[in-house]
Protein backbone atom coordinates (compact mmCIF):
# COMPACT_ATOMS: atom_id res chain seq x y z
CA UNK A 1 0.00 0.00 0.00
CA UNK A 2 1.32 3.43 -0.94
CA UNK A 3 -0.19 6.66 0.35
CA UNK A 4 0.57 10.36 0.12
CA UNK A 5 1.74 11.15 3.65
CA UNK A 6 0.26 14.37 5.01
CA UNK A 7 1.88 14.78 8.44
CA UNK A 8 0.38 18.19 9.21
CA UNK A 9 2.22 21.02 10.96
CA UNK A 10 2.32 19.82 14.56
CA UNK A 11 3.76 16.37 13.82
CA UNK A 12 6.61 18.08 11.99
CA UNK A 13 7.40 20.32 14.94
CA UNK A 14 6.32 20.04 18.58
CA UNK A 15 4.51 16.75 17.97
CA UNK A 16 7.47 15.12 16.22
CA UNK A 17 6.95 11.95 18.28
CA UNK A 18 3.71 11.33 16.39
CA UNK A 19 5.61 11.44 13.09
CA UNK A 20 8.27 9.08 14.49
CA UNK A 21 5.66 6.59 15.65
CA UNK A 22 3.71 6.79 12.40
CA UNK A 23 6.79 6.05 10.33
CA UNK A 24 7.76 3.15 12.60
CA UNK A 25 4.29 1.57 12.40
CA UNK A 26 3.94 2.08 8.65
CA UNK A 27 7.36 0.49 8.09
CA UNK A 28 6.27 -2.48 10.18
CA UNK A 29 3.11 -2.86 8.13
CA UNK A 30 4.72 -2.31 4.74
CA UNK A 31 2.82 0.91 4.08
CA UNK A 32 4.87 3.09 1.79
CA UNK A 33 4.72 6.81 2.57
CA UNK A 34 5.20 9.15 -0.36
CA UNK A 35 6.37 12.56 0.86
CA UNK A 36 5.61 15.93 -0.63
CA UNK A 37 7.52 18.99 0.60
CA UNK A 38 4.92 21.04 -1.29
CA UNK A 39 2.08 20.28 1.16
CA UNK A 40 0.84 23.30 3.12
CA UNK A 41 -1.01 23.55 6.42
CA UNK A 42 -4.70 22.51 6.26
CA UNK A 43 -5.78 25.73 7.99
CA UNK A 44 -6.58 23.89 11.21
CA UNK A 45 -10.16 25.17 11.36
CA UNK A 46 -8.95 28.72 12.01
CA UNK A 47 -8.45 29.74 8.39
CA UNK A 48 -11.92 28.31 7.68
CA UNK A 49 -13.32 30.76 10.22
CA UNK A 50 -11.47 33.69 8.70
CA UNK A 51 -12.09 32.88 5.03
CA UNK A 52 -13.91 29.71 4.01
CA UNK A 53 -13.17 29.77 0.28
CA UNK A 54 -9.49 30.49 0.86
CA UNK A 55 -9.32 27.47 3.14
CA UNK A 56 -10.98 25.23 0.56
CA UNK A 57 -8.54 26.51 -2.07
CA UNK A 58 -5.36 25.80 -0.09
CA UNK A 59 -6.64 22.30 0.58
CA UNK A 60 -7.67 21.79 -3.04
CA UNK A 61 -4.03 22.54 -3.81
CA UNK A 62 -2.94 19.89 -1.28
CA UNK A 63 -5.38 17.37 -2.72
CA UNK A 64 -4.25 18.14 -6.27
CA UNK A 65 -0.67 17.28 -5.26
CA UNK A 66 -1.80 13.79 -4.21
CA UNK A 67 -4.04 13.47 -7.26
CA UNK A 68 -1.18 14.20 -9.65
CA UNK A 69 0.77 11.39 -7.98
CA UNK A 70 -2.26 9.08 -8.25
CA UNK A 71 -2.36 8.49 -4.49
CA UNK A 72 -4.90 8.72 -1.70
CA UNK A 73 -3.96 10.90 1.24
CA UNK A 74 -2.94 9.65 4.70
CA UNK A 75 -3.55 12.04 7.61
CA UNK A 76 -2.47 11.56 11.21
CA UNK A 77 -4.46 14.40 12.74
CA UNK A 78 -8.21 14.62 13.30
CA UNK A 79 -8.25 18.29 12.32
CA UNK A 80 -6.24 17.75 9.10
CA UNK A 81 -8.59 14.88 8.32
CA UNK A 82 -11.61 17.10 8.90
CA UNK A 83 -10.36 20.10 6.92
CA UNK A 84 -9.18 18.10 3.89
CA UNK A 85 -12.40 16.06 3.83
CA UNK A 86 -14.43 19.23 4.13
CA UNK A 87 -12.60 20.67 1.11
CA UNK A 88 -13.69 17.62 -0.92
CA UNK A 89 -17.28 18.13 0.30
CA UNK A 90 -17.43 21.87 -0.31
CA UNK A 91 -15.92 21.57 -3.78
CA UNK A 92 -19.08 19.71 -4.77
CA UNK A 93 -20.82 23.11 -4.61
CA UNK A 94 -20.40 24.62 -8.09
CA UNK A 95 -20.19 28.17 -6.71
CA UNK A 96 -17.30 27.23 -4.40
CA UNK A 97 -15.64 25.12 -7.08
CA UNK A 98 -15.86 28.04 -9.52
CA UNK A 99 -14.10 30.45 -7.19
CA UNK A 100 -11.44 27.92 -6.19
CA UNK A 101 -10.75 26.94 -9.80
CA UNK A 102 -10.52 30.62 -10.64
CA UNK A 103 -7.61 30.91 -8.20
CA UNK A 104 -5.91 27.59 -9.04
CA UNK A 105 -6.19 27.47 -12.84
CA UNK A 106 -3.77 30.38 -13.44
CA UNK A 107 -1.21 28.40 -11.42
CA UNK A 108 -1.67 25.36 -13.63
CA UNK A 109 -3.32 23.47 -10.76
CA UNK A 110 -6.40 21.40 -11.39
CA UNK A 111 -8.13 19.23 -8.82
CA UNK A 112 -10.65 16.78 -10.23
CA UNK A 113 -11.92 15.55 -6.86
CA UNK A 114 -10.65 11.96 -6.96
CA UNK A 115 -8.50 11.82 -3.81
CA UNK A 116 -9.78 9.98 -0.75
CA UNK A 117 -8.61 11.45 2.53
CA UNK A 118 -7.94 8.73 5.09
CA UNK A 119 -6.87 9.02 8.66
CA UNK A 120 -4.36 6.46 9.95
CA UNK A 121 -7.07 5.03 12.23
CA UNK A 122 -9.21 4.22 9.22
CA UNK A 123 -6.30 2.80 7.23
CA UNK A 124 -5.37 0.53 10.14
CA UNK A 125 -8.89 -0.71 10.88
CA UNK A 126 -10.22 -0.93 7.31
CA UNK A 127 -7.39 -1.23 4.78
CA UNK A 128 -4.86 -3.14 6.87
CA UNK A 129 -7.61 -4.81 8.88
CA UNK A 130 -7.82 -5.95 12.46
CA UNK A 131 -6.77 -9.53 11.66
CA UNK A 132 -3.52 -8.31 10.11
CA UNK A 133 -2.98 -5.99 13.08
CA UNK A 134 -3.50 -8.86 15.52
CA UNK A 135 -1.01 -10.98 13.59
CA UNK A 136 1.68 -8.32 14.11
CA UNK A 137 1.23 -7.99 17.85
CA UNK A 138 4.27 -9.33 19.70
CA UNK A 139 3.68 -7.50 22.97
CA UNK A 140 -0.06 -7.52 23.72
CA UNK A 141 -1.12 -4.51 25.76
CA UNK A 142 -3.11 -6.69 28.14
CA UNK A 143 -3.66 -5.17 31.51
CA UNK A 144 -3.74 -1.66 30.06
CA UNK A 145 -7.10 0.10 30.21
CA UNK A 146 -7.17 2.81 27.56
CA UNK A 147 -9.67 5.57 27.01
CA UNK A 148 -9.77 6.42 23.31
CA UNK A 149 -10.18 10.14 22.61
CA UNK A 150 -11.24 10.67 19.01
CA UNK A 151 -10.94 14.40 18.33
CA UNK A 152 -14.03 16.12 16.95
CA UNK A 153 -13.04 16.64 13.34
CA UNK A 154 -12.36 12.97 12.69
CA UNK A 155 -16.05 12.31 13.36
CA UNK A 156 -18.14 15.39 12.83
CA UNK A 157 -20.16 16.62 11.06
CA UNK A 158 -20.75 12.89 10.51
CA UNK A 159 -22.67 13.30 7.26
CA UNK A 160 -19.73 15.19 5.79
CA UNK A 161 -16.95 13.08 7.27
CA UNK A 162 -18.75 10.05 5.86
CA UNK A 163 -17.27 7.43 8.11
CA UNK A 164 -18.05 6.66 11.74
CA UNK A 165 -21.01 7.60 13.91
CA UNK A 166 -20.54 11.17 15.11
CA UNK A 167 -21.36 10.27 18.71
CA UNK A 168 -20.94 6.51 19.05
CA UNK A 169 -17.89 5.47 17.06
CA UNK A 170 -16.07 2.20 17.67
CA UNK A 171 -13.07 1.99 15.27
CA UNK A 172 -10.56 3.15 17.89
CA UNK A 173 -11.88 0.78 20.54
CA UNK A 174 -11.78 -2.07 17.99
CA UNK A 175 -8.14 -1.25 17.31
CA UNK A 176 -7.29 -1.11 21.04
CA UNK A 177 -8.92 -4.49 21.46
CA UNK A 178 -6.85 -5.92 18.60
CA UNK A 179 -3.70 -4.64 20.34
CA UNK A 180 -4.69 -6.53 23.49
CA UNK A 181 -5.61 -3.43 25.50
CA UNK A 182 -8.95 -3.00 27.25
CA UNK A 183 -10.92 -0.11 25.74
CA UNK A 184 -12.67 2.13 28.24
CA UNK A 185 -16.00 3.57 27.16
CA UNK A 186 -16.76 7.01 28.56
CA UNK A 187 -18.83 9.92 27.32
CA UNK A 188 -15.82 12.20 26.95
CA UNK A 189 -14.27 10.02 24.26
CA UNK A 190 -16.21 11.91 21.57
CA UNK A 191 -16.12 15.31 23.28
CA UNK A 192 -13.92 18.31 22.64
CA UNK A 193 -10.38 18.64 24.08
CA UNK A 194 -10.71 22.42 24.37
CA UNK A 195 -7.87 23.12 21.92
CA UNK A 196 -9.72 25.56 19.61
CA UNK A 197 -10.08 28.07 22.44
CA UNK A 198 -6.78 27.36 24.21
CA UNK A 199 -5.57 30.77 22.97
CA UNK A 200 -8.93 32.50 23.31
CA UNK A 201 -9.86 31.68 26.87
CA UNK A 202 -7.36 29.25 28.36
CA UNK A 203 -9.25 28.59 31.58
CA UNK A 204 -12.38 27.47 29.79
CA UNK A 205 -10.33 25.28 27.42
CA UNK A 206 -8.57 23.73 30.39
CA UNK A 207 -11.78 23.07 32.28
CA UNK A 208 -13.00 21.20 29.22
CA UNK A 209 -9.86 19.08 28.80
CA UNK A 210 -9.73 18.33 32.54
CA UNK A 211 -13.35 17.22 32.38
CA UNK A 212 -12.61 14.63 29.68
CA UNK A 213 -9.53 13.36 31.55
CA UNK A 214 -11.52 13.05 34.78
CA UNK A 215 -14.26 11.21 32.89
CA UNK A 216 -11.78 8.70 31.43
CA UNK A 217 -10.23 8.20 34.86
CA UNK A 218 -13.62 7.74 36.55
CA UNK A 219 -14.30 4.93 34.08
CA UNK A 220 -11.05 3.20 35.00
CA UNK A 221 -8.63 4.36 32.29
CA UNK A 222 -4.91 3.96 33.04
CA UNK A 223 -4.11 6.02 29.97
CA UNK A 224 -5.74 7.88 27.11
CA UNK A 225 -4.89 7.69 23.43
CA UNK A 226 -5.68 10.12 20.66
CA UNK A 227 -5.45 10.17 16.87
CA UNK A 228 -5.04 13.97 16.95
CA UNK A 229 -1.87 15.93 17.88
CA UNK A 230 -3.96 19.00 18.73
CA UNK A 231 -5.91 16.98 21.30
CA UNK A 232 -2.51 15.75 22.49
CA UNK A 233 -1.39 19.33 23.07
CA UNK A 234 -4.50 19.99 25.19
CA UNK A 235 -4.44 16.67 27.03
CA UNK A 236 -0.68 16.28 27.52
CA UNK A 237 1.27 19.51 26.95
CA UNK A 238 -1.25 21.61 28.89
CA UNK A 239 -2.40 18.96 31.36
CA UNK A 240 -0.51 20.62 34.21
CA UNK A 241 -2.35 23.88 33.51
CA UNK A 242 -5.66 22.07 33.33
CA UNK A 243 -4.94 20.45 36.68
CA UNK A 244 -4.17 23.84 38.19
CA UNK A 245 -7.36 25.32 36.74
CA UNK A 246 -9.60 22.63 38.24
CA UNK A 247 -7.59 22.35 41.43
CA UNK A 248 -6.86 18.66 41.48
CA UNK A 249 -4.24 16.30 40.06
CA UNK A 250 -4.95 14.65 36.72
CA UNK A 251 -1.83 12.47 36.18
CA UNK A 252 -3.07 10.90 32.98
CA UNK A 253 -0.57 9.59 30.44
CA UNK A 254 -1.77 10.33 26.91
CA UNK A 255 -0.51 8.34 23.93
CA UNK A 256 -0.66 9.16 20.25
CA UNK A 257 -2.53 6.39 18.45
CA UNK A 258 0.48 4.94 16.54
CA UNK A 259 2.56 4.89 19.73
CA UNK A 260 0.28 2.23 21.20
CA UNK A 261 0.33 0.28 17.93
CA UNK A 262 4.13 0.53 17.94
CA UNK A 263 4.41 -0.68 21.54
CA UNK A 264 2.23 -3.70 20.73
CA UNK A 265 4.35 -4.38 17.63
CA UNK A 266 7.53 -4.40 19.73
CA UNK A 267 8.97 -0.88 19.34
CA UNK A 268 10.85 0.65 22.24
CA UNK A 269 9.46 3.70 24.05
CA UNK A 270 12.36 5.77 22.71
CA UNK A 271 11.67 4.75 19.10
CA UNK A 272 8.16 6.11 19.56
CA UNK A 273 9.25 9.37 21.15
CA UNK A 274 7.54 8.68 24.49
CA UNK A 275 10.19 10.60 26.48
CA UNK A 276 8.99 13.77 24.72
CA UNK A 277 5.64 13.76 26.51
CA UNK A 278 5.07 16.23 29.31
CA UNK A 279 3.10 13.76 31.40
CA UNK A 280 5.31 10.71 32.00
CA UNK A 281 4.00 7.47 30.49
CA UNK A 282 5.97 5.26 32.92
CA UNK A 283 3.01 4.08 34.98
CA UNK A 284 1.16 2.97 31.85
CA UNK A 285 4.28 1.27 30.47
CA UNK A 286 4.74 -0.64 33.71
CA UNK A 287 1.27 -2.10 33.22
CA UNK A 288 2.55 -3.75 30.07
CA UNK A 289 5.82 -4.70 31.77
CA UNK A 290 7.92 -2.08 30.03
CA UNK A 291 10.33 0.37 31.54
CA UNK A 292 10.36 3.92 30.34
CA UNK A 293 13.28 4.91 28.16
CA UNK A 294 16.18 6.44 30.07
Amino acid sequence: MKLAYYPGCVAQESGKELDLATRWVCRALGIELAEFPTFSCCGSGFVDEANEVLNVAINARNLAIAERAGLDLLTICSTCQGMLTLANVRLADPAVKGRVDGALKPLGIEYRGTVKVKHLLRVLTEDVGLAAIRAKVVRPLDGLKVGAFYGCHLLRPADEMGWESGEEPHAFEDLLDALGATPVYYRGRVMCCGFPIQFVKAETAQRISAHQIDDAKAHGADAMATPCPLCHISLDSFQNRAARTVGHALDMPVFHLPQLVGLAFGATPAQLGLPRHLVPTDAALEKIRLRAAP
Binding site: L104, P157, A158, R276
Partner: protein, 324 residues
Protein backbone atom coordinates in the same frame (compact mmCIF):
# COMPACT_ATOMS: atom_id res chain seq x y z
CA UNK B 1 -50.17 -7.59 11.39
CA UNK B 2 -48.51 -6.54 14.62
CA UNK B 3 -44.73 -6.15 14.54
CA UNK B 4 -42.70 -8.56 16.64
CA UNK B 5 -41.88 -7.19 20.07
CA UNK B 6 -38.69 -7.60 22.05
CA UNK B 7 -37.83 -6.95 25.69
CA UNK B 8 -36.74 -3.33 26.00
CA UNK B 9 -34.86 -2.11 29.05
CA UNK B 10 -35.29 1.50 30.11
CA UNK B 11 -33.01 2.85 32.84
CA UNK B 12 -34.67 6.12 33.71
CA UNK B 13 -33.15 8.96 35.74
CA UNK B 14 -35.38 9.72 38.71
CA UNK B 15 -35.07 12.63 41.08
CA UNK B 16 -37.65 14.31 43.23
CA UNK B 17 -35.98 17.14 45.16
CA UNK B 18 -38.77 17.12 47.76
CA UNK B 19 -38.00 13.49 48.72
CA UNK B 20 -34.67 12.33 47.30
CA UNK B 21 -31.24 13.33 48.55
CA UNK B 22 -29.68 12.16 45.28
CA UNK B 23 -30.87 11.00 41.86
CA UNK B 24 -31.17 7.30 41.09
CA UNK B 25 -31.98 5.18 38.05
CA UNK B 26 -35.12 3.09 37.88
CA UNK B 27 -35.36 0.14 35.51
CA UNK B 28 -38.49 -0.66 33.53
CA UNK B 29 -38.67 -3.60 31.14
CA UNK B 30 -41.29 -3.50 28.41
CA UNK B 31 -42.07 -5.64 25.38
CA UNK B 32 -41.93 -3.23 22.48
CA UNK B 33 -41.70 -3.24 18.71
CA UNK B 34 -38.30 -1.89 17.64
CA UNK B 35 -39.79 1.13 15.90
CA UNK B 36 -41.51 2.33 19.11
CA UNK B 37 -40.46 5.90 19.94
CA UNK B 38 -38.71 6.36 23.28
CA UNK B 39 -41.44 8.86 24.18
CA UNK B 40 -44.17 6.25 23.65
CA UNK B 41 -42.23 3.83 25.85
CA UNK B 42 -42.04 6.44 28.63
CA UNK B 43 -45.72 7.26 28.32
CA UNK B 44 -46.52 3.55 28.54
CA UNK B 45 -44.47 3.36 31.74
CA UNK B 46 -46.37 6.29 33.13
CA UNK B 47 -49.78 4.92 32.10
CA UNK B 48 -49.25 1.34 33.20
CA UNK B 49 -46.50 1.20 35.82
CA UNK B 50 -45.53 4.45 37.42
CA UNK B 51 -47.75 7.53 37.24
CA UNK B 52 -45.18 9.60 39.16
CA UNK B 53 -42.67 9.74 36.27
CA UNK B 54 -42.31 13.40 35.27
CA UNK B 55 -41.50 14.39 31.69
CA UNK B 56 -42.26 17.15 29.26
CA UNK B 57 -43.89 16.45 25.91
CA UNK B 58 -46.65 17.70 23.70
CA UNK B 59 -47.03 17.06 19.98
CA UNK B 60 -45.32 13.64 19.66
CA UNK B 61 -44.44 14.61 16.10
CA UNK B 62 -41.05 16.35 16.34
CA UNK B 63 -42.63 19.76 15.89
CA UNK B 64 -43.07 21.24 19.36
CA UNK B 65 -39.57 20.56 20.69
CA UNK B 66 -40.77 19.69 24.21
CA UNK B 67 -39.44 16.17 24.67
CA UNK B 68 -35.68 16.67 24.23
CA UNK B 69 -33.74 14.49 26.67
CA UNK B 70 -30.61 12.35 26.72
CA UNK B 71 -31.01 8.93 25.19
CA UNK B 72 -27.87 6.87 25.88
CA UNK B 73 -25.99 10.16 26.39
CA UNK B 74 -27.12 11.67 23.08
CA UNK B 75 -29.36 14.74 23.20
CA UNK B 76 -32.43 13.75 21.21
CA UNK B 77 -36.16 14.28 20.80
CA UNK B 78 -37.69 11.27 22.54
CA UNK B 79 -40.59 11.24 20.08
CA UNK B 80 -38.43 10.56 17.04
CA UNK B 81 -35.83 8.24 18.59
CA UNK B 82 -36.72 4.59 18.20
CA UNK B 83 -36.00 2.00 20.85
CA UNK B 84 -34.75 -0.73 18.47
CA UNK B 85 -31.42 0.77 17.34
CA UNK B 86 -30.64 1.93 20.91
CA UNK B 87 -31.22 -1.57 22.31
CA UNK B 88 -29.15 -3.07 19.51
CA UNK B 89 -26.23 -0.78 20.17
CA UNK B 90 -26.29 -0.58 23.97
CA UNK B 91 -28.40 -3.47 25.26
CA UNK B 92 -30.39 -0.96 27.28
CA UNK B 93 -31.65 2.59 27.00
CA UNK B 94 -30.41 5.06 29.58
CA UNK B 95 -32.76 8.02 29.70
CA UNK B 96 -31.64 11.19 31.42
CA UNK B 97 -32.73 14.81 31.49
CA UNK B 98 -30.96 17.27 29.20
CA UNK B 99 -27.56 18.53 30.30
CA UNK B 100 -26.58 22.08 31.12
CA UNK B 101 -29.94 22.86 32.74
CA UNK B 102 -30.88 22.27 36.38
CA UNK B 103 -33.18 19.30 36.96
CA UNK B 104 -36.57 20.16 38.45
CA UNK B 105 -37.83 16.62 38.68
CA UNK B 106 -37.03 13.37 36.83
CA UNK B 107 -36.71 14.31 33.14
CA UNK B 108 -37.96 17.87 33.51
CA UNK B 109 -35.35 20.64 33.50
CA UNK B 110 -35.48 24.33 34.27
CA UNK B 111 -35.15 26.00 30.88
CA UNK B 112 -34.89 29.55 32.22
CA UNK B 113 -31.10 29.85 31.68
CA UNK B 114 -31.48 28.56 28.11
CA UNK B 115 -34.11 31.16 27.33
CA UNK B 116 -32.15 33.93 29.08
CA UNK B 117 -29.12 33.26 26.91
CA UNK B 118 -31.36 33.21 23.85
CA UNK B 119 -32.95 36.52 24.76
CA UNK B 120 -29.52 38.06 25.23
CA UNK B 121 -28.99 38.08 21.45
CA UNK B 122 -32.21 40.08 20.88
CA UNK B 123 -33.86 37.48 18.68
CA UNK B 124 -36.14 39.78 16.75
CA UNK B 125 -35.82 42.16 13.83
CA UNK B 126 -34.39 45.51 14.77
CA UNK B 127 -35.71 48.06 12.31
CA UNK B 128 -34.35 51.41 11.35
CA UNK B 129 -36.90 53.90 12.77
CA UNK B 130 -36.35 56.04 9.67
CA UNK B 131 -37.49 53.15 7.49
CA UNK B 132 -40.34 51.42 9.33
CA UNK B 133 -42.02 48.35 7.90
CA UNK B 134 -44.75 49.42 5.49
CA UNK B 135 -48.12 48.96 7.14
CA UNK B 136 -50.10 48.46 3.98
CA UNK B 137 -48.08 45.81 2.12
CA UNK B 138 -45.75 42.91 2.84
CA UNK B 139 -42.00 43.44 2.62
CA UNK B 140 -40.16 41.30 0.13
CA UNK B 141 -36.82 39.54 -0.09
CA UNK B 142 -35.14 37.96 -3.07
CA UNK B 143 -34.79 34.15 -3.10
CA UNK B 144 -31.01 34.58 -2.76
CA UNK B 145 -31.49 36.69 0.38
CA UNK B 146 -33.80 34.12 1.93
CA UNK B 147 -31.47 31.27 1.02
CA UNK B 148 -28.79 32.71 3.27
CA UNK B 149 -30.80 31.79 6.32
CA UNK B 150 -32.94 28.95 5.11
CA UNK B 151 -31.85 26.56 7.89
CA UNK B 152 -32.41 28.62 11.01
CA UNK B 153 -36.20 29.13 10.74
CA UNK B 154 -36.53 25.36 11.03
CA UNK B 155 -35.32 25.57 14.65
CA UNK B 156 -37.95 24.40 17.17
CA UNK B 157 -36.04 25.61 20.24
CA UNK B 158 -35.89 22.10 21.72
CA UNK B 159 -32.52 22.91 23.37
CA UNK B 160 -30.96 19.61 22.27
CA UNK B 161 -27.99 21.64 20.95
CA UNK B 162 -27.68 23.49 24.24
CA UNK B 163 -27.70 20.19 26.10
CA UNK B 164 -24.99 18.71 23.86
CA UNK B 165 -22.66 21.72 24.00
CA UNK B 166 -19.40 21.46 26.00
CA UNK B 167 -18.84 25.22 25.80
CA UNK B 168 -22.16 25.84 27.55
CA UNK B 169 -21.08 23.42 30.29
CA UNK B 170 -17.73 25.11 30.77
CA UNK B 171 -18.46 28.81 30.38
CA UNK B 172 -21.42 30.90 31.48
CA UNK B 173 -20.40 33.50 28.91
CA UNK B 174 -21.26 31.27 25.96
CA UNK B 175 -24.77 31.97 24.63
CA UNK B 176 -25.20 28.47 23.23
CA UNK B 177 -25.57 27.05 19.73
CA UNK B 178 -29.21 27.96 19.15
CA UNK B 179 -28.79 31.57 20.26
CA UNK B 180 -25.82 32.05 17.93
CA UNK B 181 -27.52 30.32 14.99
CA UNK B 182 -30.49 32.64 15.49
CA UNK B 183 -28.19 35.62 15.77
CA UNK B 184 -26.69 34.68 12.41
CA UNK B 185 -30.18 34.66 10.98
CA UNK B 186 -30.77 38.29 12.00
CA UNK B 187 -27.30 39.45 10.97
CA UNK B 188 -27.92 38.32 7.38
CA UNK B 189 -31.57 39.37 7.27
CA UNK B 190 -31.66 42.34 4.86
CA UNK B 191 -34.51 43.91 6.85
CA UNK B 192 -32.48 44.09 10.05
CA UNK B 193 -30.74 47.39 10.66
CA UNK B 194 -28.48 46.30 13.52
CA UNK B 195 -26.16 43.77 11.84
CA UNK B 196 -23.00 45.71 12.66
CA UNK B 197 -24.00 46.35 16.27
CA UNK B 198 -24.95 42.69 16.67
CA UNK B 199 -21.49 41.58 15.45
CA UNK B 200 -19.73 44.16 17.59
CA UNK B 201 -21.63 42.98 20.64
CA UNK B 202 -21.25 39.22 20.12
CA UNK B 203 -17.51 39.20 19.38
CA UNK B 204 -16.47 39.76 23.01
CA UNK B 205 -19.58 38.01 24.32
CA UNK B 206 -19.12 34.39 23.44
CA UNK B 207 -18.87 34.08 19.67
CA UNK B 208 -15.27 32.93 19.86
CA UNK B 209 -15.91 30.42 22.63
CA UNK B 210 -17.52 28.01 20.16
CA UNK B 211 -15.27 24.95 20.01
CA UNK B 212 -16.53 23.90 16.56
CA UNK B 213 -16.90 20.39 17.95
CA UNK B 214 -20.11 20.02 15.92
CA UNK B 215 -21.89 18.16 18.72
CA UNK B 216 -24.79 20.61 18.30
CA UNK B 217 -25.08 19.76 14.64
CA UNK B 218 -25.28 16.05 15.49
CA UNK B 219 -27.92 16.71 18.14
CA UNK B 220 -30.14 19.08 16.13
CA UNK B 221 -33.30 17.27 15.01
CA UNK B 222 -34.05 19.87 12.35
CA UNK B 223 -30.68 20.06 10.59
CA UNK B 224 -30.18 23.72 11.45
CA UNK B 225 -26.47 22.84 11.73
CA UNK B 226 -25.75 25.46 14.41
CA UNK B 227 -21.97 24.93 14.37
CA UNK B 228 -21.89 25.88 10.69
CA UNK B 229 -24.02 28.95 11.29
CA UNK B 230 -21.57 29.97 14.04
CA UNK B 231 -18.70 29.53 11.58
CA UNK B 232 -20.57 31.78 9.12
CA UNK B 233 -21.03 34.35 11.86
CA UNK B 234 -17.31 34.30 12.68
CA UNK B 235 -16.40 34.86 9.04
CA UNK B 236 -18.84 37.77 8.84
CA UNK B 237 -17.38 39.26 12.01
CA UNK B 238 -13.82 38.96 10.72
CA UNK B 239 -14.79 40.47 7.36
CA UNK B 240 -16.68 43.37 8.92
CA UNK B 241 -14.51 44.16 11.91
CA UNK B 242 -11.14 42.42 11.66
CA UNK B 243 -9.28 41.22 14.74
CA UNK B 244 -11.01 42.93 17.63
CA UNK B 245 -10.82 40.00 20.10
CA UNK B 246 -8.39 37.21 20.99
CA UNK B 247 -10.62 34.86 18.96
CA UNK B 248 -10.76 36.85 15.75
CA UNK B 249 -7.11 37.86 16.14
CA UNK B 250 -6.23 34.18 16.41
CA UNK B 251 -8.17 33.27 13.25
CA UNK B 252 -6.63 36.15 11.29
CA UNK B 253 -3.18 35.54 12.79
CA UNK B 254 -3.36 31.89 11.80
CA UNK B 255 -4.37 32.80 8.26
CA UNK B 256 -1.45 35.24 7.91
CA UNK B 257 0.92 32.80 9.60
CA UNK B 258 0.28 30.16 6.93
CA UNK B 259 0.78 32.70 4.17
CA UNK B 260 4.37 33.32 5.27
CA UNK B 261 5.77 29.79 5.14
CA UNK B 262 2.92 27.50 4.17
CA UNK B 263 3.17 25.81 7.56
CA UNK B 264 2.31 26.96 11.05
CA UNK B 265 4.93 28.88 13.03
CA UNK B 266 3.76 28.00 16.54
CA UNK B 267 5.67 30.59 18.53
CA UNK B 268 4.77 33.40 16.18
CA UNK B 269 1.10 32.48 16.40
CA UNK B 270 1.14 32.97 20.16
CA UNK B 271 2.52 36.49 19.63
CA UNK B 272 -0.03 37.25 16.90
CA UNK B 273 -2.88 36.22 19.14
CA UNK B 274 -2.04 37.46 22.56
CA UNK B 275 0.51 40.17 22.07
CA UNK B 276 3.64 40.50 24.17
CA UNK B 277 1.82 40.39 27.50
CA UNK B 278 0.20 37.12 26.57
CA UNK B 279 3.53 35.66 25.55
CA UNK B 280 5.04 36.53 28.93
CA UNK B 281 2.04 35.06 30.68
CA UNK B 282 2.50 31.83 28.77
CA UNK B 283 6.27 31.78 28.84
CA UNK B 284 6.51 29.57 31.94
CA UNK B 285 4.47 26.95 30.16
CA UNK B 286 6.33 27.56 26.91
CA UNK B 287 9.61 26.81 28.68
CA UNK B 288 8.22 23.58 30.14
CA UNK B 289 7.10 22.44 26.69
CA UNK B 290 10.32 23.64 25.05
CA UNK B 291 12.46 21.45 27.31
CA UNK B 292 10.72 18.36 25.91
CA UNK B 293 9.89 19.71 22.49
CA UNK B 294 12.53 22.25 21.44
CA UNK B 295 11.01 22.45 17.94
CA UNK B 296 8.34 24.85 19.17
CA UNK B 297 10.91 27.66 19.15
CA UNK B 298 12.05 26.83 15.62
CA UNK B 299 10.68 28.51 12.53
CA UNK B 300 9.46 25.88 10.09
CA UNK B 301 11.14 25.66 6.68
CA UNK B 302 9.00 27.29 4.05
CA UNK B 303 7.20 24.73 1.91
CA UNK B 304 8.17 24.26 -1.72
CA UNK B 305 5.79 26.11 -3.99
CA UNK B 306 5.13 28.86 -1.45
CA UNK B 307 4.59 31.24 -4.36
CA UNK B 308 1.43 29.28 -5.17
CA UNK B 309 0.09 29.88 -1.67
CA UNK B 310 0.85 33.58 -2.06
CA UNK B 311 -1.05 33.70 -5.35
CA UNK B 312 -4.04 31.85 -3.89
CA UNK B 313 -4.14 34.38 -1.06
CA UNK B 314 -3.82 37.24 -3.53
CA UNK B 315 -6.76 35.88 -5.51
CA UNK B 316 -9.07 34.99 -2.64
CA UNK B 317 -8.07 36.95 0.44
CA UNK B 318 -6.81 40.38 -0.45
CA UNK B 319 -9.12 43.34 0.18
CA UNK B 320 -9.98 43.84 -3.48
CA UNK B 321 -11.71 40.49 -3.32
CA UNK B 322 -15.38 41.05 -2.67
CA UNK B 323 -16.68 38.89 0.10
CA UNK B 324 -20.28 38.23 1.15
Amino acid sequence: MAAATTPTILDVYRFDPTKDSAPHYQRYTLDLAPHTPVLSALLQVRAETDPTLALRYSCRSAICGSCAMQVNSKSRLACETQVGPEMERHGRIVIEPMRNQPVLRDLVVDQAPFWRRYESIEPHLILDPKHPMPADRPTSMTPAQVERFQETPRCIACAACYSACPAVSADAGFPGPMALAKLYRFVVDPRDSASTERLTRIQPNGLWLCLRCHLCTEACPKDVRPSERIRDLKELAVAAQGGTEPGSRHAIGFKENIRERGLLNEMKLVRQTDGVVGLLRQSGQGLKIWRKKPEIARRPHPIEGLDEIEKIYAALDDPKEERP
